[in-house]
Symmetry: C2
Subunit: 622 residues, 2 copies
Amino acid sequence: MTTTMHDGLDLDQIPELAAQLRVDSVRSSSSAGSGHPTSSMSAADLLATLMARHLRYDWDAPEAPGNDHLVFSKGHASPLLYSVYKAAGVVSDQELMEGYRRFDQRLEGHPTPVLPWVDVATGSLGQGLPDGVGIALAGKYLEQAPYRVWVLTGDSELAEGSMWEALGTASYYELTNLVTIVDVNRLGQRGETALGWDLDTYAARVEAFGARAVIIDGHDIGQIDEALAQADGELDRPLVILARTLKGKGYSAIEDELNWHGKPMPDDKAEEAIAELGGERNLVVRGPKPPVIDRPEPSRGSAELPTFEKGEEVATRKAYGPALAALGAADPRIVALDGEVSNSTGVADFIEAHPDRFFEMFIAEQQMVAAATGMSARGYLAFASSFAAFLTRAADFIRMAPVSRADLRLVGSHAGVEIGADGPSQMGLEDLAMLAAVQGSTVLYPSDGTSTAALVEQMTKTSGVSYLRTTRGAYPVLYGADEQFPVGGSKTLRSSEDDAVTLIGAGVTLHEALTAADSLAEQGIKARVIDAYSIKPIDAEGIREAVAATGGRVVVAEDHHVEGGLGAAVLSALASEPINDLHVKHLAVDGVPGSGTTAELLGWAGIDAAHIAEAARSALEG
Amino acid sequence: MTTTMHDGLDLDQIPELAAQLRVDSVRSSSSAGSGHPTSSMSAADLLATLMARHLRYDWDAPEAPGNDHLVFSKGHASPLLYSVYKAAGVVSDQELMEGYRRFDQRLEGHPTPVLPWVDVATGSLGQGLPDGVGIALAGKYLEQAPYRVWVLTGDSELAEGSMWEALGTASYYELTNLVTIVDVNRLGQRGETALGWDLDTYAARVEAFGARAVIIDGHDIGQIDEALAQADGELDRPLVILARTLKGKGYSAIEDELNWHGKPMPDDKAEEAIAELGGERNLVVRGPKPPVIDRPEPSRGSAELPTFEKGEEVATRKAYGPALAALGAADPRIVALDGEVSNSTGVADFIEAHPDRFFEMFIAEQQMVAAATGMSARGYLAFASSFAAFLTRAADFIRMAPVSRADLRLVGSHAGVEIGADGPSQMGLEDLAMLAAVQGSTVLYPSDGTSTAALVEQMTKTSGVSYLRTTRGAYPVLYGADEQFPVGGSKTLRSSEDDAVTLIGAGVTLHEALTAADSLAEQGIKARVIDAYSIKPIDAEGIREAVAATGGRVVVAEDHHVEGGLGAAVLSALASEPINDLHVKHLAVDGVPGSGTTAELLGWAGIDAAHIAEAARSALEG
């Protein structure tokens, strides 16, 4: 029997709903044979009160711009979230019981935006709150919408530094539209957390980071309701509700017991738990409605990209900012974030042109990428920039972006040994490998100002994770303003009928390859030179054709470690069809660099013009 | 003229030393044409007082076990650090002026352990303090040595979550041997920090994270000395000294001015600054001596690795713990760390056997890897484990390990879609690419219990970053206990004279390849099967020989994304010499997985036995 209750519940009706959420958490995980019922049960009272009385959400219109947002940072409590969906009437009991954690079903082990009510994927702890900060930033500063962002976190995940990046950012940006509910059930996976039930210490940390902390008994409906109601008024700071709870609450045999993390109950225990909780229910509850607001489609024009004179020396990192500023003028959805290095990454030009669409994330790259993810969930085209080396700080967040179905646009400057004197800590030498391995990603590496501007524009049209790698130093512009740079393409800069070898470069090594071709020409060796500006997808056909046309001889040079970069992409292209007599010379950075000039370090790494020419000659010999 | 002052300085002599450090910071960076003089000048009074009166250090014996440790978390202040070395008499003025930031010199742009007084490389902000926590953990719990760890940090880097992971860990482990000195000069690279000079807020955060905060004027020698002296007594908590300073202090024209970050002074300004600071000096100052303590070489035996019966079903993650426990019994230098998933990663067996050599790092993977780095600097063999997916959280720390010349031993469990129902957030599908791209790394991926135990032993003998990838499910043991698994090797599990195709797998895909070979054999197709347990270095010769012997036909299957994993390693091996008629079929995970059973997901990804057999047949067709 289904009872539908609209417009929320009275306080004394909440325990029934909470019991249903607990029963359904037990049932769904037991039916799936895996999952986290106990981590769901601890937060059931919190979620019952929230969904019935405070979450302003039109369950029939998940895209409604006035809807609040609910982020399960503790994504392993998916049985609870999906039980909430059942209680909202948008997921059937059958789906919950037969779909949860099953193949080709949408109720995955951890929530993802395959579900229309989910904004961002969670399951890597410490990401949901930073993602929620991104949604709240969009709500407050971009949409200027009245929605609130509610984030449920575990206590274990407060050990992740990213959570404190999030709270620091939330208070800096005065995100009074962000409510964090911490389910302090004391127990992690293998034992007690570092702080156990020391809620005072959590509160002190939260307050010191600029949020308002409220400590409650997470099973006292009155206290929960009062705390949540604070968000219905005017907040002066982000709100963090610290709820003391019992893991497994509602089934006395395992309440607050160790060794029940991430385990479904066996049938006998599940039956016992359900009985203790009063059996199955099928309440359908709709809480408060969101305000009806309009979100007009932004008007977009066409951008006038900056142009550069052929031969003019321009650093690609310096071309990025003007290009993004121009694109931003034409499309109000474009926003930028940076990790406190905007004068290095080149995004300063965008800041000057569109200060209201720039977010300084200070030196918190994880939060920067999470904010971009949250903004992507709200339909913005967020470009996040830092040194290529420091984007590795956010690797786990970048990895999760495709699971979140987020469009993430990343720009990494100061790539490679090319940067010179600063030394290896500042040299991005692993960034291509990291970004290429991300599901569905696009990896671009321009060599001049013209292609940089064109590829930034391409990124605005590219879904998924896209990455632009830029270079510190200034090099001659190679292309006229009308040149097109499609993703997946390449450019042939030198070619003749009787080329003996193909030289492939990107970024600084393309310029070295051109110099190498000149010196080879002086020795009577004609070389074809390819600008592989699109590393993923690589222009497999173009590269295969060039290499086949030059007798199978190819030199690929890159300012990156040996693995996972341009060379790997070229090998993959060449392997897709047999090429006989293939002679590949792969020049890349092997060894730990030190300081030096660009020329010294390119030489040390064996990726400068002299080494490219030498490798070409060696390929010809054998 | 050089004046040598032993046994420290009186307080009234400190300003002279501080002036020298400032002058030398200006001189060295101006001579190099790059560097961070102003970020050095803000901390000069702090370092002068520390080195002359509190740092217990035998400059003539950097390896002395009683020495304190000095970590420059703000590594860009290298001019200051190197000026300290000059003031200690271990670096000449000539080296400072002619070596700083120059090619093939040891005074790199950011400090690295190429210098004997440097424990860990810094320059990626937010890493020095977590690394220092590792050294302090070693000092307190492993060496039981009286040394203190002094960490100089910037204020900007307090935006990194890793700093709060570090302080939380320091207070949890009661690291009263750790002193953090924060140079709060208010200015980041492109402007003011989020908190500026709000030292009270910093203090509240530090105190809430369990450390003792002391606010001082960072240019008042008396206040500095008093604060540092607290560490000479008995501390009840880690100490954090918050020093209010002026960037560029000592040269009035640029003190506290924006736009002087990371810029050497031009000659005229440098001259003016040096004049205002009273000119060049050549003081040599030796502070307090460290206690003379003994650090005996640990006695090591030979380990009896666990053995497994062929055919027995064992999860490689479950073989890891017993192997490490056995190795730990033979070698007291072996320690383990885990990110709150020890019952999943398998390290629980080690914890049971050697509880005093295990460090629970909770869900703070960055701190976990940093702690292992710090312990490596103290000569320990630290194994750090988590889910493969979550090691990506520490990518920037792993990237820095080779720059730190650290031996880092990482173990990532639950790799790939094989894990099943938990879904993509928990699936390591990028870990091989991330680890392989690390300079000098070793990447191992065993398929059974025997090879797991053997490879864990290999890791104890492997320098640099090494990585063991383990699998969730249990699979049949393939090898007898006497089998050897050298790094860089491979195993041929099926072969005959007339093999038509080579199948290469590792981990779960090796078992699928064996099944595929069986089904191909039923169809009259003989397949060679190779266990590529060493992904980096790959057994290039063995693989080339096998592929050449099977007509250039090869199928490689991996439970990882397409880029940067086993397939990329195989292509690289095959490209090193021409193989004609090469037909490579590369099966890998492309697309975002959902939940499901292992079999369903291996099938969905196209990496199960059926797909491998199909790819082999397709390779035979041409």
